[in-house]
Structure formats: C-alpha cells, structure tokens
C-alpha cells in the first residue's frame, strides 16, 4: 500500500541514505524514507534508537554526516542560513517538553512566529493567537500566563498552537503524549487527527506510545538501536501501515508492540554483575 502511494504521489520529504554519528557513536545508518503530502508517518522505536535525531535531521537542526534530506526537491543542508530560516516557516515542530520560552507569556510564545515573520498588526495577531489557542481547547485568559503556571498537558497544547500558527505544510511531533495521563494523551491524539482534517498537512510523529501509533498513523516506521544491530542489518525494521504492524511476525517488532522485556532483563543483569 505504502509503495503504491509513493508511486502515485511525488514525495514532499525524501531522506536519502542519511547517516548521523555523534563522536564515535553511530546513531542513524543509511536511513532512506520518502513521505508523500498529507501522510501521517509515525516513527516508533525504543529509547535511544535515533527517532528524535532523525526528526531534527529532517528540519536541518542536525546535519547528517552522510546522505541528504530533500524538502520539495531542495537539499536542506546546502541552503544558506537565511534560506534555511525562510524554509523553516513551512515547518511546525512540537517539542517533547513543549520548549516554550520561559521569559514570555503564553500569548507572546504563540505569537512569536507571527511577530518574527508576518506583517500583521497587533490586533490581527491577537485574533490569530486566540483562534489557535481555542483550536487546542485553551481559554483566552491563558495568554497572560507564563509557561511555568501551566500543567504539562496545557504546555503541550500551547506548543501545538505555536507550531500551527504559521499554517505549516509539515508538522513534526516529538513524543507528543510522553508524560501525560491517558485522558490527556488521547486529547493530544485527537488534536493531531483534527489538525490533519482541518489542514492538508504532512505529519511526522515520534512516539513510544502504541495507542498514538494505532490512532493517528497512516504509516508506521520502526527504528532499531544501532548498538543492537549487526553490520549488515538495516536500521529500519518495519515500514508499513498500522494494520500490517499488528500482523508483523518480526520478533523485535512484536517485542516492542507487546511491550515485553524479553532478554533485556538478563542482559542488564549480566552487564551489572561485577566480574
């Protein structure tokens, strides 16, 4: 199904043979992914497998050691700083801990991209900010509050409102439900779905949460940590629809989907045992 979609539509994001290494530690190896417009891709994988690194590579926050990332046929790593800044206006990024600016109020946080790049008057900016906050279910009066005064769920929703304010073509969610209670997690999942329905956006969601993957994904890719791979093994161990994920027989995929510790406990004990 994914292959047929890729054949029909021209990809908006193309990740070509991307390798990222931090010092001596390889994090990503020969990652090759094409994402078509309107698709919601969920990147699954255990902690430390490079999901967030891959997502930051997509928007040029991390430069790959090898390979390239194309957005709308532009190699983002060959762009100048100024051209990159302009291109990033087409992206929205929802950070794991929201990454709201502590020194600003919620209103100033959400309005930040508009003030930086738009030429709207203050009245129009206020209207847009309130509309975006209302979309994520936040009342008007939060605009005067500081991020520290909000709960984790509210901060995530403010982060989403800020990411949406410029009507991006590509939205990236970094672990949007981590640290939230099940109800608030579902609220965030619903907001991701609603955002996609309202605007024809392409989304990449990095998560550990299988509920999120089942609920929001058109396509799921699972990465495996480099430290557990052999030289010739591909790092992407699954690429398909959520239904195909449920039917996948790969032992590593099943272990993640079912949340089983398996041999890991034994490995950890062996590593901790003094010689």
């Amino acid at each position: 199904m994914i292959e047929s979609l890729l054949e029909e539509q021209k990809p908006v994001v193309e990740i070509e043979d991307v390798c990222v290494t931090f010092g001596q530690q390889p994090v990503l190896r020969d990652i090759r992914i094409k994402i078509v417009p309107g698709q919601t891709l969920v990147l699954l994988g255990e902690s430390g497998c490079g999901k967030t690194v891959l997502m930051k590579t997509v928007i040029g926050l991390i430069k790959p050691n090898r390979g390239r990332v194309l957005f709308d046929d532009q190699d983002i790593n060959t762009l100048s700083e100024k051209a990159m800044s302009r291109l990033r206006l087409r992206f929205g990024f929802v950070f794991q801990n929201a990454a709201l600016f502590d020194s600003m109020t919620i209103g100033q946080n959400v309005a930040f991209p508009l003030r930086q790049h738009g030429n709207h008057n203050p009245h129009r900016i206020r209207e847009l900010v309130l509309a975006r906050l209302a979309e994520v279910g936040l009342p008007d009066h939060v605009v005067y509050k500081k991020p520290a005064e909000l709960s984790g769920g509210m901060r995530k929703r403010v982060g989403l409102a800020r990411a949406l304010i410029m009507n991006p073509e590509l939205i990236l969610y970094d672990e949007p439900t981590t640290g939230l209670d099940p109800i608030m997690s579902d609220v965030i999942n619903e907001l991701i779905i609603r955002t996609r329905r309202r605007n024809p956006v392409t989304s990449i969601v990095v998560t550990h949460d299988m509920n999120t993957a089942r609920k929001v994904a058109d396509r799921v890719i699972m990465l495996y940590p480099m430290s557990r791979l052999q030289e010739d093994e591909p790092q992407i161990i699954f690429d398909g629809s959520p239904d195909e994920l449920e039917k996948c027989r790969d032992r590593r995929v099943r272990q993640f989907v079912n949340g089983e510790a398996g041999e890991r406990l034994m490995e950890m004990r062996a590593a901790a045992t003094p010689i």
Partner: protein
C-alpha cells in the same frame, strides 16, 4: 574531554608500564588536548564570524535589544559604582604612606586617578560585568539549550544567533564604556574624599597635580580597552551557553567557565592593548609625562 588511561588498568595486571609506553601515553594525551583546543578555537571563531555576519546584515529588534541594554547597563551600575568607590579609597590607603615618606602626598591624586582611568576602572568594570552579566548570559542560554528553546527558535525560522547573541553582544559593547566611566568617576571621587578628608591632603594641589598628569589620552585608553573587554565577555559567555552540556551540571559549568575564560581574556587583552596603546601614546607625545 575524556581521556582513557589504561596505564594502571586491571588489564595489565596493575604492573608498571615501561618507559616507552608511558611516554607514548603522555604524548598521546597532550596531542589529544592540542587537537581538542584547536577544534574549540576553530568552533569559537566560526561562532564569532556568524555573529558578526548576522549583526551587519540585520539589526536586532527593539524588544530584544532594550531588555539587554537594561540588564547589562542599568542593573550593573550600582555594583560597578560601589566597586569603583572602594578601589579609589583602597588606592589612597595603599599609596599614602610611600608618598608621605617622600613628602609628595599632593601627587597622590595623579597616581590614583591615572591608575583608575588607565587600568583599574576598565578592568574592574569588565570583571564585574563578566561576573554579573557574563555568567548569567551563559546560564540563561545554557538553560535554553538544555530545554530545547534554542532549537525551538531555529525551528520557527528565527536564527538563534541573530535573536539571542547579537543583542547581548551589542548590549555589552555599548554599555561597557558607560560602566567604565562610572567606575572611573566613582573611583576618582572615592580616592579624592579619602585623601582629602582622612589624610588631610590639600584639595587644590591634589586636583592640579591630577590635571597635570592625567590627560584625555589616558581616559580614552581606558574606554577604548573596555570595548574589547565587553566584546570578549559577550562572545565567550554566549559561546559557552550555546555549547552547554546537558543537565544542571552542564549549565553550572557553562556559567563558571564563561567567567573564568572571560577574566583570562580580559587580562590578556589588557596586556596586549596596553603595550600597543603605549606605543601609540609615545608616537603622539614623544616627550611623555613624568610623575616626579
């Protein structure tokens, strides 16, 4: 900077290594330090170059520059003024005895004021700025790095160097001359009041001697040097904040390191600028001015 030392590791049974091996390890360790230092210097130079290129291509917005000017200039004034006053008085205390032995008490003003405007005023103002503002900048930017706020800025199409570093650099560059003038003024005042009120030195001769020996070039020297100190403090502190290691420990280390490196930079710059400005002085005034 992690160095693996395998010399006394259990792998060689705790035996002492041979001289050749120890020499090899020693050279390798120093080689690693040199390579890392060169990389850090290159990284710092690129950081400075990017800051300068953003500064000349696009001036910062008012809402980013004014809070920094306030933070660096207005909020640093009391502490700089207080330090300047006490240093002026301390100079009077330390110099009085020697000058009184030579019956040259009235020349005290020349020594105190010359020392203040050429050296202590700018160096003290810069040191206070490095401690009060530089560390705070490194800690603030470090926290922003750790909590992904700098990544968030970049993700929203704002260049973090243009948005965060340029205003801080300009604030330090523009405010440090005023802080230096304040340190000079308060130091001169402190030295004058202590000398005339406590040591009962004649006010007229105190001032006339000061006026004979301290010229406009001396005042210019101090203010000119302070510009370099301000630029160094801003660049070092912002660089440390931007390259902060993760966690609370990383932020603390960035703040401490920024002060230490800024202080070293101030002293090194002071020496080389002092030598160069002396040459300029003797080029302009070949006969010079002598105290005695």
């Amino acid at each position: 900077m992690s160095t693996e030392i395998s010399v006394n590791s259990p792998a060689n049974g705790g035996q002492k290594p041979g001289f050749g091996r120890a020499l090899y390890e020693w050279v390798a360790d120093w080689g690693r330090i040199v390579i890392e230092s060169v990389i850090a210097l290159g990284d710092f130079s690129i950081f400075c170059w990017r800051m300068i290129s953003w500064m000349v291509s696009r001036l910062p917005q008012r809402e980013t520059i004014f809070p920094n000017l306030y933070q660096v200039g207005v909020l640093s004034l009391p502490v700089v003024a207080l330090t300047g006053t006490f240093i002026g008085m301390v100079l009077a205390v330390q110099s009085y005895f020697q000058f009184s032995q030579l019956n040259l008490e009235t020349r005290l003003g020349a020594v105190i004021n010359m020392t203040l405007v050429r050296e202590l005023g700018p160096v003290l103002a810069a040191t206070m700025l490095a401690g009060r503002v530089g560390s705070a900048m490194a800690a603030e930017l470090g926290t922003m790095r750790v909590t992904e706020q700098i990544d968030a800025l970049a993700a929203m199409g704002a260049n973090p160097i243009q948005y965060l570093v340029v205003p801080r650099f300009l604030a330090c560059l523009l405010m440090i001359p005023t802080l230096t003038v304040m340190a000079d003024f308060m130091g001169v005042a402190g030295g004058y009041f202590y000398s005339t009120l406590v040591y009962d030195i004649d006010r007229h001769y105190y001032w006339s001697n000061s006026a004979s020996f301290v010229g406009w070039f001396d005042i210019f020297t101090g203010i000119f040097k302070s510009l370099f100190f301000g630029a160094a403090i801003a660049m070092v502190s912002c660089y440390q904040g931007f390259h902060c290691a993760p966690g609370a420990e990383g932020v603390g280390k960035a703040a401490t390191t920024s002060f230490v490196y800024s202080f070293v930079m101030i002293l090194v710059l002071d020496l080389f600028l002092g030598i160069w400005l002396d040459k300029v002085y003797f080029l302009l005034f070949p006969q010079g001015v002598t105290l005695f």
